[in-house]
Symmetry: C2
Subunit: 207 residues, 2 copies
DNA sequence: AGATGTGAAGTCTTTCACAGCC
DNA sequence: GGCTGTGAAAGACTTCACATCT
């Protein structure tokens, strides 16, 4: 295989493959073909093969892919073959949904700290995490936490992002509906589900 | 302007512009240039102008864009210049986050019905919505609801989707971490934040 | 002058078609 | 025979550069 820059779209699909493969894994099927995986995850078989080919290919011609091995390879590429500690800021409904979300552990994430402003919540333990006041964010850099999760109202998102960067996180997942900026060294991913929902009516067949 | 197919990426950016424009709108600034808007939303000015040009262009050369008019145009394109009724299925943490989410109203959505399985929740009123048992989903088609929102555990996502389609929704927003299929006439948008988070470690600068 | 609108160039991504291997 | 891996073609999207208008 020659060197190729890996398309960011390929990276985005890898977790989708992983999600499907884990389902198969639990069913004691040893192998899978690109065709079967394709139907399971809703992506074309040639797209799947092309994606894997960027990494040299993981399968055996005429046979298919060994599920366990494929899972391992994808996790390694995404660097989720080890645990990443995250800190959650904002323990409202969304924050609690994140705390309770089973998917996180499966992808190798743990929530190691949670912060909120509300005196009612501070000190309480939710899903095994004690909620701390936001001012404790400053001490975060002592704890080896790589990722910050922002689940606060949009007005505070930028300030919290700044504090997380200050505290040394290398990546941020932002749920607040705001555009926030961070230094280049920090990677940020924003999710605002209103933005996605807002596109839906455009596609609706209005009879 | 000649006919052009409008890129789906352009459609995705329109709500981002809208989010920025609404911020400006509240500040009593009458006009905005692509350059200023660009900085506010984090998208290149030429990209913004190109996007608008697919619809014929909304600005005045040498001057800029009239904010109110631009907001109106974007809402019209996205068909969110009128109210869309939605039905929420699953009132756990995520569902409640959706119920409380202020952004929805701003984009022209109302939650007109909410369903859950939990006897503890059924009958209760949360954010002005009375929670109904899931079996009531069948009667949904009487209520002029266009969009279903799925916020149930992944095992039930497909079944609920089928029921929503049966009940006549034209679009679905799915938060369950599962690939679900619907008839072609129904548009589905899925959000699984674990998928996005899973990409983050790949981009982290590990020193 | 200053900002938009847009063809054309450039880049990235998907799709195809088939060689290569089990 | 069946399925993977991959160069090449096709397609989609972004960026550029500048003509155009106020």
């Amino acid at each position: 295989m020659r060197y190729h820059k890996i398309p960011s779209e390929t990276i985005k699909r890898l977790p989708v493959y992983l999600r499907g493969l884990v389902l198969l894994c639990n069913k004691e099927v040893g192998r899978v073909s690109s065709k079967v995986l394709a139907e399971l995850v809703g992506i074309n078989p040639w797209q799947i093969r092309k994606d894997f080919s960027y990494f040299g290919g993981f399968g055996t011609r005429g046979v298919g892919y060994e599920i366990d091995e494929l899972i391992g390879q994808i996790k390694k590429i995404l660097k989720i073959d080890r645990v990443h500690k995250t800190a959650l800021v904002g323990v409202g409904h969304l924050g609690q949904a994140v705390l309770a979300y089973p998917g996180f552990v499966g992808y190798g994430f743990t929530i190691a700290a949670a912060y909120d402003n509300d005196p009612e919540k501070i000190g309480k333990v939710i899903d095994n995490i004690r909620i701390e006041p936001i001012k404790n964010l400053k001490k975060l850099d002592k704890r080896d936490i790589e990722i910050g999760i922002i689940a606060v109202p949009f007005q505070f998102a930028q300030i919290i992002a700044d504090q997380l960067v200050e505290a040394g996180v290398k990546g941020i997942l932002n749920f607040a509906p705001a555009y926030i900026t961070v230094p280049k060294k920090v990677k940020i991913i924003s999710i605002d589900f209103a933005l996605d929902l807002a596109c839906l009516p455009y596609y609706l067949n209005s009879k």
